[in-house]
């Protein structure tokens, strides 16, 4: 187990329906954009290998359904996440206002060990659209939300266009870096949870050998 070639990083992409979660993912993983992706139902993931600081990591990006009724399924999919991407649409104010509820929902359902400093990243998508269609005084509102609803924590913020492939790569590289940190922080216990259904003792002995106690 210590000979794991690649570090697997699990990333969950959340946000209101239609903000472009699937598009962002498709743009990043497959370098393609379609005007119309169908609504995502349930959850599925794509993987992409990246090199971050000379380390090869495999980014497992989970695309989720935006409709509210599917939120209760999070428990099944969020487990073991290393980073969470909160998306909004720069032309849709409601999607911006819902960011904090997505964050709270994620923390409740994912059961991360460090909710206070779990890595979140915020992506505002669709910056390619006309300036006139964008949310008026977006920066102010965003600042307001970060301060009042997201606990003043300065989550990294990216404005992207999945359509024109602006900033998507950069944003996800950042996601990978943050996820890697989180993984190193409590990777050991994560591995336990994933693999321990056969023989808890054996697996723990292996972990002890793998030198995580440094």
């Amino acid at each position: 187990m210590s000979a794991r070639k690649k570090t697997l990083l699990k990333v969950i992409v959340l946000g209101d329906l239609g903000v472009g979660k699937t598009s962002l993912m498709q743009q990043f993983v497959n370098k393609k954009f379609s005007h119309q992706y169908k609504a995502t139902i349930g959850a599925d993931f794509l993987t992409k290998d990246l090199t971050i600081d000379n380390k090869t990591v495999s980014l497992q990006i989970w695309d989720t359904a935006g409709q509210e009724r599917f939120q209760s399924l999070g428990v099944a999919f969020y487990r073991g996440a290393d980073c969470c991407v909160l998306c909004y649409d720069v032309t849709n104010e409601k999607s911006l206002n819902n960011l904090s509820s997505w964050k709270d929902e994620f923390l409740v359902q994912s059961n991360v060990s460090n909710p206070q400093d779990f890595p979140f990243i915020i992506i505002g998508n669709k910056i390619d659209v006309d300036e006139s269609k964008k949310i008026p005084s977006l920066q102010k509102k965003l600042l307001n939300i970060t301060n009042n609803q997201l606990g003043g924590l300065n989550y990294p913020l990216f404005e992207t266009s999945a359509k024109d492939s602006i900033n998507v790569e950069t944003a996800f590289e950042n996601v990978a870096r943050m996820a890697l940190q989180q993984e190193e922080l409590n990777g050991a216990s994560r591995n336990d949870m994933n693999d321990d259904y056969h023989d808890a003792i054996n697996i723990h002995l292996e972990n002890d050998n793998s030198g995580c106690a440094c």
Partner: protein
């Protein structure tokens, strides 16, 4: 002309079709028809649903959209006839009735619906089809509008049904199949209405709970048909890992997309969807969907082994849960499905159904018996599926639902669902209390080195956090219904005092939140302290860090922005300091009871409230 039919030379005749023709030779009473579409047309004219069902299960199904548009309503009517359809359509314009709350959602989904274009174009290459023109963008737009009207019509006629993402995929198929008919929109409406009431009703409840119950059927079928595949699915499920194998909830999420959309959401090609629908309608039961899914998994066994890197599943000692989710998902399972694959999958499905009909599945396990017999007696699996494999059984004829009955049924369904999820979380909790406790304590009893027990301790701790938080979310999910009811009650009582209503509600919410939090703290403390005799230093250290952590959570205004909770956290702090003053060795004795007790109590209290 008749002699042609006795010795069919047409190449598209399938094997079983020839058998049928030969059978006709010996049956003078039945007038031999010439080709399969003539037989189908004949059956349609005679409204012979049994004959149509038989034809629908053959390897080329009901041949084309034109025949399907006429045959499906007969297959459906065989099970459930609808009344006053025309009355509704002729007297009620869409604009006249109250808008449904989900209409915006419908619009958003339809805007993004690609199916129409892609399906229609695949459609037009069909040989015997009357669709010859490839649709322009305008035509697609027109189709989208018609689809929107279709869905909105259904929702407005039955406001108690909730729209779910995926229902639009189902409706789009119905619309396309009926496109060739004169009264296409009415026909499509009849099909979609029938589907919504008798097949997809469970998915259109206010919450997802009952939809999840349908997913449980897939592992249940696998359990009988292929124990090794069942093991793979079970061992990678979160309920199983969290309880060390003490509890498995059968929730098979990879099948969600396929079952909710009846395989119509980018899952299979249009012609394959047609075949699958023929097959499902021929049984008149949505549970056939789950059998088909299980059959697909069985069919893909070799592919699954390949992906897991083993020759046979027996060799497999462990598997990654996410990978298993992926290979059990439609994108992997249905990739590159050929006509022949589909035929063998459907044949296999038919034999699965006759070998293990729902009745025998429900008899096979106590848990499965609960899902659709004890609880959820109003589920479509019970009310409009044929429970028996024996089709002549008249006792299983589903009853007809009138629009006025539907709200009651949906209410009952929701209520039963709440009870079931409460019951399930209780089972889950018991599994954790008994087995997880036993295993972790037992492993600590052995003379293991302290480093090992330390890692075991942290592991059981992290596992318990997972478990308790999932209980937490389950409870909050089930309680949302209760809270909703409470809010309605207080609204009635305090109509003139909205502020008091609000505070009353928020106090209730917070008392509830608080009790869960106390339960959670109790859980954690219990596990730290239970093992405190083994690694005292470690656990006391983490105990303090834990207290600090909860302190920060409580004091964080954005998280618990309520006076009540702040007070409670203060008293919780008092309690903790009191405990700190008392003897260290005594902690372990009292705290477990506090933790587990309060969770049990809140479950109990919730139960009482629902009764």
């Amino acid at each position: 002309m008749q002699s042609v039919s006795y010795f069919p030379t047409e190449t598209h005749f399938s094997k079983d079709w020839e058998d049928l023709q030969l059978a006709h030779l010996h049956n003078a009473e039945i007038e031999p028809a010439h080709t399969k579409d003539e037989v189908i047309l004949d059956a349609i004219d005679r409204k012979d649903a049994l004959k149509l069902a038989e034809l629908a299960r053959q390897s080329d199904g009901l041949l084309n959209a034109h025949l399907r548009a006429k045959a499906w309503p007969i297959l459906m009517d065989h099970c459930h006839s609808l009344t006053d359809n025309e009355g509704f359509l002729s007297t009620l314009e869409v604009n006249d009735s109250e808008p449904h709350k989900d209409e915006d959602q419908v619009l958003l989904d339809i805007k993004r619906l690609f199916t129409i274009l892609s399906h229609f174009n695949s459609f037009s290459h069909e040989v015997n089809s009357s669709y010859t023109t490839i649709l322009s963008q305008e035509d697609v737009e027109a189709m989208r509008k018609r689809l929107y009207c279709l869905i909105v019509k259904v929702l407005r006629k039955y406001p108690c049904l909730h729209y779910y993402q995926g229902f639009h995929d189902v409706a789009s198929i119905a619309l396309m199949v009926c496109n060739d008919l004169e009264d296409h929109d009415d026909q499509a409406f009849a099909i979609v209405e029938n589907l919504a009431l008798y097949h997809l009703r469970d998915f259109m409840n206010p919450h997802m709970g009952l939809s999840i119950n349908h997913l449980k059927l897939v592992p249940l079928i696998l359990e009988q048909a292929d124990p090794a595949l069942f093991q793979l699915v079970r061992q990678t499920s979160s309920s199983y890992t969290a309880t060390y194998g003490a509890f498995y909830d059968y929730k098979f999420f990879p099948a969600l997309l396929a079952l909710l959309t009846m395989y119509s959401h980018d899952v299979l090609s249009f012609n394959h969807v047609m075949r699958v629908w023929d097959f499902i309608f021929s049984f008149g039961a949505i549970s056939v969907s789950a059998y088909i899914y299980a059959s697909f998994i069985l069919h893909s066994r070799a592919k699954i082994c390949d992906e897991l890197g083993v020759k046979d599943l027996e060799e497999l000692s462990s598997a990654d849960a996410d990978l298993v989710h992926k290979i059990m998902s439609p994108t992997f399972l249905f990739a590159g499905v050929s006509e022949a694959d589909l035929n063998s999958v459907l044949d296999k499905t038919a034999s699965l159904i006759s070998q293990w009909p729902l009745v025998s599945l429900f008899d096979s396990s106590e848990m499965a018996n609960l899902w659709f017999r004890e609880f959820n007696t109003e589920s479509v699996v019970v009310t409009s599926s044929k429970f028996e494999s024996d089709e002549s059984d008249s006792s299983s004829v589903p009853r007809i639902i009138s629009p006025s009955d539907l709200p009651k049924i949906v209410d009952i369904q929701e209520e039963q669902q709440t009870k079931e999820s409460l019951y399930e979380s209780e089972l889950f909790q018991r599994a954790i209390e008994q087995d997880s406790l036993a295993t972790s304590v037992n492993s600590l009893d052995g003379n293991s080195p302290s480093a090992l027990s330390l890692s075991l301790l942290t592991n059981s701790l992290s596992n318990l956090t997972a478990v308790s938080s999932s209980i937490n979310s389950r409870l909050s999910y089930t309680s949302s219904v209760i809270l909703k009811k409470l809010s309605i009650q207080s609204e009635e009582l305090k109509n003139n005092k909205p502020t008091r209503k609000e505070t009353a509600l928020s106090v209730r919410t917070n008392i509830y939140k608080l009790s869960l939090t106390i339960g959670l703290i109790g859980f954690l403390l219990h596990f730290l302290l239970k093992h405190s005799d083994v690694s005292q230093g470690y656990s006391s250290k983490s105990f303090y860090s834990l207290v600090r952590k909860f302190g920060t959570i409580f004091s964080n205004e954005s998280f618990w922005n309520n006076r009540l909770v702040v007070q409670a956290s203060k008293s919780a702090g008092d309690l903790m300091s009191a405990i700190k003053d008392s003897e260290f060795s005594n902690w372990g004795r009292y705290l477990p009871e506090v933790g587990l007790g309060s969770v049990r109590k809140s479950v109990f209290a919730l139960e009482k409230m629902t009764l």
